[in-house]
Symmetry: C2
Subunit: 351 residues, 2 copies
DNA sequence: CTGAAAGCGCTTACAG
DNA sequence: CTGAAAGCGCTTACAG
């Protein structure tokens, strides 16, 4: 609302910072009034508010965050918690970080990165207790780790990205998976695929179960018997996708629905190494829509997660919670099926 | 030094936080003494220091950061500045974030993520001015952007990761590139390669120039005339690596030295698409050693950046600077040549 | 070595 | 609507 235009008298780097006191003095009001005016609290006449704001702007006033924190108990910084190596291993993690960072900036909140190691990270809990941040957005990738449960129990305002049905008491923003995967199976069926396989994720994760259930449900709906040898377990990594596919190919699938993009990329590598063609011998689909898929050949059919929407929802929810507002505990967002070469057969009908 | 063991009376989540006042009272000393004892300043008897620390530990005392900041002017939080989409596009960015986060944690510093958009980001400068952080580590990837220059001029304690010869006044930790690429060329020559090509990065970047110069120098050293049509420009992205290679192959290179891994991956895709084999028709090498290369086939010969060492150096330097110590302006770290299948010819001699 | 006191820059009841 | 005052939890000269 009251953005400081860039050309305002930008104080030279080392001049002592302008304080609220100065703004108040120049405006001819008390410090209290200036504070109220600047923070949009009522209890100030409109003309006074305007005057104060102008003065603040022309002086290049920027409130000292530490002082603000100390006095108000709020920091305007939120934390993003995820497992340390998620960032390096899967572009999904990087997409999340970027989208959360952007959302935080939109809400004028700082973003503190809390990369938790495998150990039940005291660092995370401590950072929160130290009053460095007001709340956290936690990537559900971390779920299962003991320290996440500790965190959830710690009464820290939290929004999970990803579902955690075991904790209906914590706010979560999840991406719809069940019906989306059904949609994928129907699409593959429309392309003439008859032996559709699925490499699911670790079943202790809710998203993995959802996707597997959706896969099964689609077969029911299609009136097909599902050959159980076509359902195998992966772990969301490229390498495992590759290994599992090598064996899976013995079952002669003509399509493989991977639980995520990384797995799908591994699948594609294994299929090609086996001398089979994509999509005509084996169609392949993924889930996520990270940047990684942009550079794959053939282009990968995948369910695109709306990262920006998810993270915006997570951050705005957290901000709402911190403001004391009621926020629905469960919010669901829908991915978009992006059909590409990896599943578009020459004989197939369009979806 | 004085780590709080996890089993200390961890106060239940909502109990009012333990303050320095309480620690002092229980210890039977003044607040000032307690502060000194806990912060390792002198002016306290050893037995007093010990007593205070024990009390603090058993009470589960954690200093309030905001108060500490306000009183001391230091925040114990550093910022990591990089272009917003670097994270999504190149695993290099993700590796950096992870390594810096780990280093910061080791130094007991919080890490604030400052993803700068393309626009000359006020947000970054403001965050710093607001006293949220003490200094920044800036990825040189960002170099060239106007706002980086603004930042460097802003007198903010800064350590650059990557070289910026135009700014010898700012601290920088760089990875040696010139000799490393020479090493690569010699390795390729030992494998029997005779027409070695190079796809360099954008030449406004120092790392790109260094690598190109090293490439040239190696030819000189080998007494070979360099065919200039074998030197082409890329932009560090996979897509461009692919496109450029398609044309480059007309020059019949038998090896391609890519300026980074992403480019190398694009090169490999293009080479294979052209029906040529790696490494026997065309050997390929990269630079970075990000996680991306672990899953490529054939495995990529590359110069592994010591990410942990680089980031540790950057963070510890920044911490030193903040403490008022002298730190060398330029620190150089060496990558390791990891020879893999993409450049190991059957007829070649070992390096 | 030790403590009383001032102060960091804000916010927030509390009286007017 | 407005201001004087207390207080957030620490650190840091400054006297002892």
């Amino acid at each position: 609302m009251d953005l400081v235009s860039g050309d305002a008298a930008t104080s030279s780097a080392n001049s002592p910072a302008v304080t609220l006191d100065e703004v108040a003095r120049v405006s001819g009001v008390s410090r209290a009034a200036a504070s109220r005016a600047l923070n949009g609290r009522d209890g100030v006449r409109d003309d006074v508010r305007l005057r104060v704001r102008h003065v603040a702007e022309s002086l290049g006033y920027r409130p000292n965050r530490a002082a603000k924190n100390l006095a108000s108990g709020r920091t305007s910084v939120i934390g993003l918690v995820m497992p340390s190596d998620e960032l390096r291993v899967d572009p999904y993690g990087a997409s999340l970080v970027q989208a959360v960072a952007n959302a935080a900036e939109r809400h004028d909140e700082g973003l503190m990165l809390l990369l938790a190691q495998n150990e039940p990270s005291r660092a995370v809990a401590d950072t929160i207790r130290d009053g460095l941040i007001d709340g956290v957005v936690v990537s559900a990738i971390a779920i299962g780790a003991r320290w996440v449960e500790e965190l959830l129990d710690a009464q820290v305002p939290t929004v999970l990205i990803g579902a955690h049905p075991g904790r209906p008491d914590v706010h979560q923003v999840e991406v719809e998976s069940h019906d989306s995967i059904m949609h994928v199976v129907h699409h593959l069926a429309s392309q003439g695929c008859e032996r559709i396989a699925h490499i699911h994720g670790p079943l202790h994760r809710d998203d993995a179960r959802q996707r597997l259930d959706g896969f099964r449900a689609a077969h029911l709906q299609l009136g097909r018997d599902l050959d159980e040898s076509l359902v195998v377990e992966g772990d969301y990594t490229r390498r495992t996708g590759q290994q599992v596919t090598a064996r899976l190919l013995e079952q002669r699938p003509d399509a493989i629905v991977a639980a995520n993009d990384e797995t799908a990329i591994g699948v594609m590598q294994a299929v090609e190494r086996a001398g089979l063609s994509i999509p005509d011998d084996v169609a392949v689909t993924g889930f996520d829509g990270t940047a990684a898929v942009e550079v794959i050949e053939p282009t990968l059919t995948t369910l695109m997660q709306p990262f920006d929407e998810i993270c915006e929802l997570a951050v705005s929810s957290l901000v709402s919670i911190l403001a004391g507002n009621a926020v629905p505990l469960r919010q669901v967002v829908h991915p978009t099926l992006a059909i590409a070469a990896s599943s578009s057969r020459t004989g197939g009908t369009s979806p």
